[in-house]
């Protein structure tokens, strides 16, 4: 534990929903729910307006719909979230080189690693925290964040959590126990409903009670690792450092389907899309990998993984896609698959390029991530020779552009029609129009910025 509250935790408020409200002015002030919209979907993020109806993240989408039927249900635009997240992380790095992103919307900052002057008083750190919140608002196009600071990651995280949304709390050095002990144990990260239940059975409800229970009793109730870790956290003992880059051993993405899929062409298309997402992440983290793995969960929940290793690491989407397609055919999916995943491991920071793929026109490398454009839009591009077999998928919330009306987003789609609201972050609420699902004037696209181009 440090002697100054120099660890800061920043958490963007209802991040996905807030980005949607930023880019879709007609949804501002209204309940917005982002998540998987299919029958097996769960809520990723609910706006604060939706939380008022009891909608929470990780809730089943069906329950969310029952609680808040009039909310806007969107399937999420990861390119936009990533772009916004990057802008915020970059702003944090201006402050201190030691920034540890935990996810798109959450990061720890080690203030002691930056040139920030005196950090010994809470007032000084409060000024820094407020400046960070103002800067975040500015670079993200109007998103609010909650910021906590303290002498450890645990205290900083709990502090930001306590002041959600749009708040700030700095816990002075030496007051950690006083701060933690009145709280319910569920405030401690890692104490979920199951652990909470077990603790309740041994009469522990607050962190203070947790601190008074002996380690041996906690180990008996929770097991060795978890029990000892909790005992330390209850005493506010947390020495975890802020680590700028976490070394990952593999990078993978997977998709669970709404319905089991047996169509080999469709499965191949999904594998292609997963492969391009994996490569996009490799490129972003400036990594490459030698081993490509495909994970397939069949209709009966049996899970199969197949992998193959290259002579040298690659980050080439064409190579990963080719191998992933081959691996997919190793497993009999004729009875239906419910999940597909593609991963790359054996990571390195160099790439053994291929003589043949390197001669393919460089222009298509510059086009960014192939496949990404097709996520919400036009999968037929990926299935050559069958242009009319797969209907265009217009997912709610996705960005589109119309040759006459300009930029907008999919308001709803079905029965061969798609309804679009034409508005952007800088336009104010815009009009709604309906088109045929295959209207040639309408296309999916991925905006490169949310800012007004003018």
């Amino acid at each position: 534990m440090r002697s100054k509250p120099s660890i800061l935790h920043l958490d963007l408020d209802a991040f996905f929903a807030a980005v949607e409200q930023r880019d879709k002015p007609s949804l501002r002030g209204k309940p917005v729910i982002v998540g998987g919209l299919g029958p097996r979907g769960v809520v990723s993020t609910a706006s604060y307006e939706a939380r008022a109806f009891g909608v929470r993240s990780a809730m089943r989408m069906a329950e969310a719909r029952a609680r808040c039927p009039h909310a806007a249900y969107l399937s999420g635009r990861f390119a936009a979230y990533r772009m916004t997240s990057r802008a915020v992380m970059a702003a944090l790095r201006e402050l201190s080189p030691l920034v540890e992103p935990v996810s798109f919307d959450e990061a720890y900052v080690d203030l002691a690693a930056g040139d920030l002057g005196d950090l010994s008083t809470t007032t000084a750190v409060e000024h820094i925290a407020d400046a960070i919140r103002a800067r975040t608002f500015e670079v993200s196009g109007g998103l609010t964040a909650s910021v906590g600071a303290g002498t450890s990651k645990l205290i900083a995280k709990i502090a930001s959590d306590l002041r959600k949304p749009d708040g700030r709390l700095v816990v002075a050095a030496g007051t950690e126990a006083e701060f933690l002990h009145p709280m319910p144990v569920s405030r401690i990260p890692g104490v979920g409903p199951a652990t909470g239940d077990r603790l309740r059975r041994i009469g522990v409800h607050t962190v203070g009670e947790l601190a008074r229970v002996g380690v041996s009793e906690l180990v008996a109730a929770l097991g060795q690792a978890h029990g000892q870790a909790l005992a330390r956290l209850a005493q506010a003992e947390d020495d975890r450092p802020v680590v700028a880059e976490r070394e990952s051993k593999s990078i993978s993405v997977e998709d669970t389907f709404d319905h089991d899929i047996a169509d080999p062409r469709l499965l191949q298309m999904i594998v292609d899309r997963l492969a391009s997402r994996v490569c996009e992440r490799l490129a972003r983290e400036r990594l490459s990998g030698r081993t490509v793995t495909v994970k397939i969960r069949l209709f009966d929940f049996s899970t199969h993984t197949r992998s193959t290793t290259l002579a040298g690491p690659t980050d080439d989407v064409r190579v990963v896609t080719r191998l992933a397609r081959q691996l997919l055919t190793d497993v009999d999916t004729s009875a239906g698959a419910r999940l597909l995943g593609v991963g790359v491991s054996g990571l390195a920071d160099w790439v053994q390029d291929d003589l043949f793929t390197s001669v393919v026109d460089d222009a298509d490398n510059d086009a960014g991530a192939p496949g990404e454009l097709a996520i919400g839009g036009t999968p037929e591009n990926l299935v050559s020779g069958t242009p009319d077999a797969a209907p265009r998928l217009w997912s709610p919330g996705a960005d589109v552009v119309h040759t006459t009306y300009g930029q907008g987003w999919v308001w709803g789609a079905g029965r061969g029609r798609v309804t679009v609201r034409f508005e952007t972050s800088s336009s104010g609420p815009g009009p709604v129009r309906t088109f045929a699902g295959d209207d040639p004037d309408l296309a999916a696209y991925t905006p490169l910025t949310w800012k007004d181009p003018s």
């Binding site: 400036r286 990594l287 490459s288 193959t308 002579a311 040298g312 191998l323 081959q326 390195a348 920071d349 160099w350 790439v351 053994q352 390029d353 291929d354 003589l355 043949f356 390197s358 001669v359």
Partner: protein, 382 residues
């Protein structure tokens, strides 16, 4: 069947045929070696439906006939026999091998179940054994070993009259070797894709002999289609082998060679190889080595600051711009080894583009373009 044969001749011939026998045969009879004794000679054959091997050796045949015995066992036995004449006799379901006072009785396999060996295609041309062995070894080093890409496990043979081109690539490097031969017909034009491992073994086996006959079936001719055959005299015996060609289209490779270059460097091969081996000690699991060319020096570096690092500079004659480029050290070593030349010439365009390696007889000689090794660099991410 009964015959007497010289021990060394037998051991040599049996060992050669046994090499092409499958270690895990799909049918029990394929583990067998067919012994055919007739008219003063012995014919030993092995076949695994991909590759066939047949060798003809002189023998004192007292009774003609044939028998099929375990090839591996026969190879082990003949190798360990003393240097005395060997007698082989087929007796009911057994073959008896005697040599001096040593006596082996080996069960036979049913000859009637043994597949017929493919017929050798008609001869296409002749090349010197050592030239062929050398050319194949220079190219096979670049062939792929990944069975998921069978096309790249082969060596492409292209014949245009008296010019033969061999090419192989594993996607990361490409080796191309040209040599001339004597074709049966002066206007012969043919291509084939031969499994690299088989070709390398075959060429090596014929290296000491004088001439190798290559037989490539002309498409549509009927006999031996989809096969390539090699025949030659080695160790005083006539040896023939056929192998099934690989299917699929070998990638178009001629356009991969960059038409121009920005930097050309000449380095003495042996010191470069030594230096590379030293520096590569810290390049674990073939992590890249970095080659910097400039100021009359080639500098090799490898390793990372959190483990171990190494660097070494050697003299180099450099024309054009300075450049830093990364390579897989093993691929670079393979190429330098295959050059078989005292001086190596590197031609570069950009650090992300393939480099061409050629050999020179001396620092001021013209590069020998009969052999070119194209190597894709490693892209260093930071």
């Amino acid at each position: 069947m009964k015959f007497r044969v010289d021990r060394d001749v037998l051991a040599d011939a049996v060992a050669w045929v046994a090499r092409s026998l499958p270690s895990r045969p799909s049918l029990p009879v394929l583990a067998g070696m067919l012994i055919d004794a007739r008219d003063g000679e012995l014919l030993l054959s092995g076949f695994d439906y991909e590759t066939s091997a047949r060798v003809q050796v002189p023998a004192e045949v007292t009774s003609e006939g044939s028998a099929l015995v375990s090839g591996r066992l026969l190879a082990d036995i003949s190798r360990s026999l003393p240097a005395q004449p060997v007698d082989l006799t087929a007796d009911g379901g057994k073959v008896v091998v005697t040599c001096r006072s040593a006596r082996f009785t080996v069960q036979t396999l049913p000859v009637e179940d043994y597949p017929e060996l493919p017929e050798m295609p008609t001869a296409s041309g002749i090349v010197k054994g050592d030239v062929f062995a050398n050319a194949v070894s220079q190219v096979a080093v670049a062939a792929g070993r990944d069975d998921m890409l069978p096309v790249l496990t082969g060596v492409r043979i292209e014949i245009e009259g008296s010019a033969v081109t061999l090419a192989a690539t594993d996607r990361y490097r490409l080796a191309v070797r040209e040599f001339s031969w004597t074709p049966e017909k002066p206007d012969l034009s043919a291509t084939a894709l031969v499994p690299a491992r088989v070709l390398a073994d075959t060429a090596k086996a014929f290296a000491s002999g004088s001439d190798v006959t290559i037989a490539l079936a002309v498409p549509g001719s009927g006999t031996g289609e989809g096969l390539v055959g090699f025949a030659g005299i080695s160790g005083g015996t006539m040896r023939r082998t056929t192998t099934r060609l690989l299917d699929g289209e070998f990638p178009k490779y001629r356009t991969l060679f960059p038409p121009e270059q920005q930097t050309v460097a000449r380095v003495e091969t042996a010191p470069l190889v030594e230096s590379l081996k030293r520096v590569a000690l810290v390049a674990e699991r073939n992590t890249p080595i970095r080659l910097t060319l400039g100021d009359g020096q080639a500098t090799l570096e490898a390793g990372s600051s959190d483990e171990a690092q190494a660097s070494e500079s050697i003299e180099a004659a450099i024309e054009g711009e300075s450049l830093t480029i990364g390579f897989n050290p093993q691929y670079l070593l393979d190429g330098l080894g295959a050059l078989e030349a005292p001086v190596a010439q590197f031609s570069f365009t950009q650090p992300t583009r393939p480099a061409v390696l050629t050999g020179l007889a001396a620092a001021d000689a013209e590069p020998n373009t009969d052999y070119r090794y194209l190597l894709m660099p490693v892209r260093l991410q930071n």
